[in-house]
């Protein structure tokens, strides 16, 4: 038998390693020599971590246990492993199984299934077959043609056709070309790439190898965030194993083709998601973009033809080669083929990674797979595309997720962050949050981006402080257009999107802040105030909890908050046992 513990970063953060250690300890203590403890990557149901799967000797899954904290390990060992009975209390529920069954898993095909640290398991799942097929039986042009037929578009955000980039890099002759994997997942709120790297690193290596063969590159570089130590570790293990097995290195598959990969740890700069900035960073410089053309396919890393694709794009490639381009094209919509992985987070019941066919309505993802809004509050908006994207309001939840429909709303498909917001989320504050991010991450090269984002942020901060003025909305809109026009790279060109979409769909919230000095979501501190109602029993608890002594009143008498002294920390409301304190 085999006991497998999911150990992606999310799993580890919830204590999966301790659970695994406890299982091992108990199995050894009970002398169960026929049971092995193994690990796997993230299956995507982050809200159920730590997850423990039990497989029988025949390799079939006997049970999936969820939220297995170390103290629950004993039940699994004693009842299931020793007694042969499923521990019903810990087993995954039908509803939670639906989280997985409604998905179409191509990129995540091996995540949460195989042990990412054992190449044998990847090979057993058909791994490196696609690379072998490409290198030994196809010409580079045939590989590119297959990718063209598949309709695969770059999953990093822009959605540019992958085959087109490969073809351009192929056509530029040079003594050296580079295949670069962009694993600098900088969108705050997205973790698809991390999970793929942690759960199935070989699929990315194989995709890069195939791409390298197609464009004629012998060297690959993975530019990965230093904040993802586990992903880096698993990539290093995978690369070493691939070299041992002859999947990386010289004369692969007995042909003259050679390809090897190295890792470069990024140092934390959102702008490095932009191709030319990433190249500057690879060269050890400040990650500042430069004008295109020349495109990286012409002159990239060290002035050589370079192709850059995202992690998820590469993970698609082996599947496309094995199943044929037409198989991917048959999934999704006409212009957006295949699947997309989304990181579902925010005010959602079942947060995690979901992979769905393109063309699924947003509503189906949030309510069908994600189980709806946390605490059954009202769904207000979903943010897609991170700092470059926008907020799509609840009334547009029927919009299908593909490269044609989403941009019409003002947002972008982006790399896959999908942050759900409820009635308590202030949309002006969200715009302020993203502008604060882009303002910090602007490299400073273009005036409009450097100074313009700062000015926009100042206005938004003023509005959320209750000091908004007539004309602020128009000024924001004007600045937004100027920044879009006056910036060289994608960061500046898209930075105003969160502001523009929130003004477009939630203009009333801006107006409430500016003219009525009101934050209807009760989120902006300067615009809310606490009051004690008649329900007050005069227990004095709130007065004792107030850190600034703003509450006065005698025992058994209704208390009063002095609004000038109050710092709006909310401690009184949290401490009141009678629900007598209201926020307005």
């Amino acid at each position: 038998m085999k006991v497998v513990v999911g150990q992606g970063s999310c799993g580890v953060a919830t204590g999966a390693r301790k659970t695994s250690d406890e299982l091992e300890r108990l199995i050894a203590e009970k002398g169960l020599t026929n049971v092995a403890v193994d690990l796997t990557g993230c299956v995507g149901t982050c809200y159920l971590e730590p997850i423990v799967d039990v497989y029988g000797d025949d390799g079939a899954l006997q049970a999936r246990y969820v939220k297995v904290q170390p103290d629950k390990a004993a039940a699994i060992v004693e009842e299931h492993l020793m007694g042969g009975r499923i521990v019903e209390d810990l087993a995954i529920s039908r509803q939670d199984e639906a989280f997985l069954s409604q998905q179409k898993r191509i990129v995540l095909r091996n995540c949460g299934v195989i042990n990412p640290e054992h190449i044998e398991e990847y090979i057993a799942a058909g791994g490196y077959e696609a690379a072998k097929k490409a290198v030994t039986s196809m010409t580079p042009q045939q590989v590119i043609e297959e990718v063209r037929i598949s309709g695969l578009r770059g999953r990093g955000g822009a959605g540019f056709p992958t085959w087109f980039k490969w073809n351009a890099a192929r056509q530029n002759q040079a003594d050296q070309k580079y295949m670069v994997c962009n694993a600098d997942e900088g969108d705050p709120g997205a973790f698809m790439d991390r999970s793929v790297l942690e759960g199935d690193p070989h699929s990315v290596l194989e995709g890069m190898l195939i791409g390298g063969y197609a464009i004629g590159a012998s060297q690959g570089v993975i530019y990965v965030r230093a904040e993802y130590p586990l992903a880096i570790k698993r990539l290093e293990i995978a690369m070493a194993q691939a070299r041992e097995r002859g999947f990386l290195g010289q004369n692969l598959f007995g042909t003259g083709f050679s390809f090897d990969i190295r890792i470069k740890a990024g140092a934390g700069a959102f702008v490095c998601g932009e191709e030319t900035a990433l190249i500057a960073s690879l060269e050890g410089e400040r990650g500042m973009p430069r004008l295109k053309p020349p495109f990286p396919a012409q002159r990239g890393y060290w002035q050589k033809p370079t192709n850059i694709n995202n992690v998820e794009t590469f993970a698609n490639v082996p599947w496309v080669l094995l199943h044929g381009g037409a198989a991917l094209a048959a999934i999704g919509t006409e212009k957006s083929a295949g699947t997309k992985v989304f990181a579902l987070a925010g005010k959602i019941k079942k947060g995690g990674l979901v992979e769905v066919p393109m063309g699924l309505p947003i509503r189906d993802i949030i309510f069908g797979i994600g189980g709806g809004i946390k605490n059954d509050k009202a769904f207000k908006a979903v943010q897609m595309g991170g700092p470059s994207g926008g907020c799509i309001p609840a009334e547009l939840a029927g919009t299908t997720v593909d490269y044609e429909s989403i941009p019409k709303t003002g947002a972008i498909v982006g790399s896959g962050g999908m942050i759900v917001m409820d009635e308590d989320t202030c949309m002006v504050d969200m715009a302020r949050f993203f502008l604060d991010f882009t303002r910090k991450e602007s490299c400073g090269k273009c005036n409009y981006c450097r100074v313009g984002t700062k000015r926009m942020l100042e206005i938004l901060e003023r509005i959320t402080r209750g000091e908004g003025r007539d004309g602020d909305i128009e000024l924001l809109e004007e600045l937004a257009e100027k920044i879009k026009d006056g910036s060289m790279c994608g960061l500046g060109q898209t930075a105003p999107n969160p502001v523009l979409t929130t003004i477009r769909y939630f203009r009333n919230e801006y107006e409430d802040h500016i003219y009525k000095k009101k934050c209807t979501a009760h989120s902006c501190k300067a615009l809310i105030h606490y009051e004690i109602t008649d329900a007050c029993k005069g227990c004095t608890l709130c007065a004792r909890n107030c850190p600034v002594g703003a509450i006065t009143g005698s025992v058994k008498q209704r208390h009063v908050i002095d609004q000038d002294t109050c710092i709006k920390c909310g401690k009184c409301m949290d401490s009141c046992k009678f629900g007598a304190i209201v926020k307005d």
């Binding site: 970063s9 999310c10 580890v12 953060a13 919830t14 982050c46 809200y47 997942e185 900088g186 969108d187 705050p188 709120g189 997205a190 973790f191 991390r194 230093a226 904040e227 993802y228 130590p229 470069k264 740890a265 990024g266 140092a267 934390g268 700069a269 959102f270 960073s281 690879l282 060269e283 050890g284 410089e285 400040r286 990650g287 060290w302 990181a343 579902l344 987070a345 925010g346 005010k347 947060g351 995690g352 943010q383 991170g386 962050g417 942050i419 759900v420 917001m421 989320t425 969200m430 949050f433 993203f434 991010f437 991450e441 490299c443 920390c569």
Partner: protein, 176 residues
């Protein structure tokens, strides 16, 4: 090593002070494009990039100190001042923001008396706000880094944060 980057034996030698960096410079020092890698190793070794460390790297690699400083200040990973024993990396990503990361930051500030970028007087804690830790479904999240490794804490509340920090304080006091 002393705080001014010279050898602790009093000989004043910078060579000795940065001896641990020598193998790194040996490996990457002359390879074009390796500056970020060198700085990452230097920060791993010393916890931060001191002026002397930057000077030393400049002398070895031939890259001007101003340029190294430019690269070091461009990327959020690099620090130019020392950090406490426990580095609190508080996630301020979108999911964490929506789920109340600001109140988590308040709790850290109330408990330790430090704000983003500051270190406690006893040198035990440094608070750094980070863009995203990638554990969005456990939001709000923080990671605490020590020499022994990283520990991630998810689904935080103000009370949880206080308990975690008090626990570390108590363990530190006990080990003394």
């Amino acid at each position: 090593m002393t705080s001014n980057g010279t050898c602790c034996c009093g000989c004043g030698s910078k060579e000795a002070a940065f001896s641990a960096l020598a193998p790194v410079l040996e490996q990457y020092g002359k390879t074009p494009g390796s500056l970020i890698t060198i700085l990452q190793h230097a920060q791993d070794l010393y916890g931060y990039l001191s002026t002397d460390a930057i000077q030393y790297i400049a002398e070895y690699t031939g890259i001007k100190p101003a340029k190294i400083y430019g690269v070091a200040t461009f990327y959020t990973q690099f620090r130019l001042s020392p950090i406490g024993k426990h580095l609190i990396m508080l996630c301020k990503g979108t999911a964490c923001h929506v789920n109340g990361a600001d109140s988590i930051e308040e709790a850290v500030t109330e408990e330790l008396g430090i704000t983003d970028g500051q270190t406690t007087e006893d040198g035990l804690f440094t608070l750094n706000n980070v863009a995203c830790l990638g554990c969005c479904s456990l939001a709000p999240v923080m990671m605490i880094r020590t020499a022994d490794g990283d520990e991630t804490y998810g689904n935080l509340t103000k009370a949880k944060v206080r308990a975690i920090l008090q626990d570390i304080r108590a363990k530190e006091a006990a080990s003394k």
